[in-house]
Subunit: 220 residues, 2 copies
DNA sequence: GATGGTCCGTGACTAGGTCACAGAAGGTCA
DNA sequence: TGACCTTCTGTGACCTAGTCACGGACCATC
C-alpha cells in the first residue's frame, strides 16, 4: 500500500521503534480506510472486532442515556487510538459507549488477531497502548469530577474558551454544546443568554461569537 | 519471606504463569505490608513511587471536591491492583485522586523500577495489568453515566440493594452514603426518610435496616 | 445527670433539568 | 416574492437535587 508507511510514521512516531517483524505484521494486516463524517462506528452494546488508529480527522466517543441526553467522553484524533476499543479487545467485552466520526476520518484498521499479536510481540506497541490508557483514564477522572461537582456556567465558559481565541466564533447549536457537556439545551440557552447580557459573547443561529475571553475566564 | 508465595498464588492466580525469572524479581523486591484501616495511602496531586497489590482488605479510591463533597470511584480489593497507581507509574504523573484503606489491608508493594521491569519482561504480568485497566474503565464509564443522567433515588436504592439481603442492615452514616454516591448528606437523609415512609427501610443512628428489597427494586 | 461530639431532620433557598409551547431564522419551491 | 417547512432559540412553569443554617436526638464519658 504505497504511502501508508509514511503516514503511519508521521502520525505515530512511537511506531518507528517497532522491530522489523512487528512492522511487517502491521503493514500486512492493516487496512487503510476513509470514513465519511457522521458515520456511527460503534454503538453501546455492539461487539468489537478490530482496532482503530486515527491518521486524520476526529472521532467523538459519547454516552447516550435512555431519555436522549448525551455526554461526550473524549475524542480520538490524529495519532490516537480508541481506548474503548482496546478495552473491548482485551476484555473481550462489548462496547460501553457510542463512537461517531465528527469529520471525514482516515484510519488504520487492524483485525483483533493482529492487535493481540502486536501486543504480545512488540514492546513499542505495548507502550503506545499503555500510554493511551493512561491519558484516557486521567481524562475520564476529570470528567467525573466536573460532572459530579462542577457548576454548569463554569464548565460552559471553560469549554467556550478552550475552543477559541477572542473574536473567534464557534459553529455549534445550543443542543450541540449541551451534548458536549452532558447538560440540557434549555440550560445552555439560558446560560449563553446571561453571558451575552454580560457582553462576553454574541449569539447567532448555530454560532456563538466570543467577545471577551477575559470575561469567560473570570468564571473559572 | 515465608508464606508470601502462598499468599500471592492464592490471591493472584494469574501470577502462577510468571516465568521463573519474573517470579524471582517479584519475590526479591516485593515488600509485604500491613496497613491499618483509615490510612491515607495517597492524596490527589501526590507523586507515586510504588505499585500495590492487595492481598487482603479494601482500599477506597475517591475524588474530593474543593467544597468538601466526595465521590467513590472504585475499590481495590483482594486480588486487585490500583489502576490509578498503574497510571501514574506508566505516565509518570501525579495521582488524580485519593486512596484510603477502609479496613486493615495486607498488601504487596513493588518499587516502580520492579514494576516497569516486570511489565516489559512478563507476559502474564502484562495481561494482569491490562485486564485491570479494562475492568476499571468499564466501571468509570458506568459511574459517569450514573452521575450525569441518573436519579439519586434510583442510585440510592440500587446501592442499598447491592450491599444486603432483606433483613440485613447496613452500618453507615448518611454522610458515608452521600460520599459513596457523590451526593450531599441532606439529600440522602430526605430520600431515606421517604424510603422509610414507604416501609422499605428502618432508620437507626449509623445504620440502615433493609425491610423490603422488592420495594427498593421497584425503583430501578 | 451534665457535657460534648457525632449524627439526623427540616425549612428556605438556589442551581439545574424537564415540559410545553411560541416565535425567529433560514431553506425550498411554486 | 411569498407560502411553507424545518431547525434552532427563548421562556415560563415546574420538579429534582444540592446548599445553608440551625435545632434537636443519640451516645459516651465523666
Amino acid at each position: 500500500m504505497p504511502g501508508m508507511n509514511l503516514e503511519i510514521s508521521t502520525c505515530f512516531p512511537q511506531f518507528s521503534h517497532l522491530d522489523a517483524d512487528s512492522a511487517r505484521l502491521l503493514e500486512n494486516n492493516a487496512r487503510l480506510m476513509d470514513i465519511p463524517s457522521g458515520t456511527v462506528l460503534f454503538r453501546d452494546g455492539a461487539e468489537c472486532s478490530s482496532y482503530v488508529l486515527v491518521l486524520e480527522g476526529s472521532i467523538r466517543v459519547q454516552k447516550v442515556s435512555e431519555n436522549g441526553r448525551e455526554i461526550v467522553l473524549y475524542r480520538v484524533e490524529r495519532g490516537q487510538s480508541c481506548v474503548l476499543t482496546t478495552n473491548c479487545l482485551i476484555a473481550r467485552e462489548d462496547y460501553a459507549a457510542q463512537g461517531v466520526t465528527e469529520t471525514d476520518v482516515r484510519a488504520l484498521v487492524l483485525p483483533a488477531t493482529t492487535f493481540r499479536a502486536l501486543l504480545s510481540k512488540s514492546e513499542a506497541f505495548r507502550d503506545f497502548v499503555f500510554s493511551a490508557y493512561a491519558t484516557r483514564i486521567a481524562d475520564l477522572l476529570l470528567l467525573i469530577q466536573e460532572v459530579a461537582f462542577g457548576r454548569i456556567d463554569v464548565r460552559l465558559a471553560g469549554w467556550l474558551r478552550s475552543r477559541t481565541a477572542s473574536g473567534d466564533a464557534i459553529v455549534a447549536t445550543h443542543q450541540d454544546i449541551a451534548t458536549e457537556l452532558g447538560s440540557a439545551r434549555e440550560v445552555i440557552s439560558r446560560q449563553l443568554k446571561e453571558f451575552e447580557r454580560r457582553g462576553w459573547v454574541a449569539l447567532h443561529r448555530g454560532r456563538v461569537e466570543i467577545k471577551s475571553r477575559d470575561g469567560l475566564a473570570s468564571l473559572a
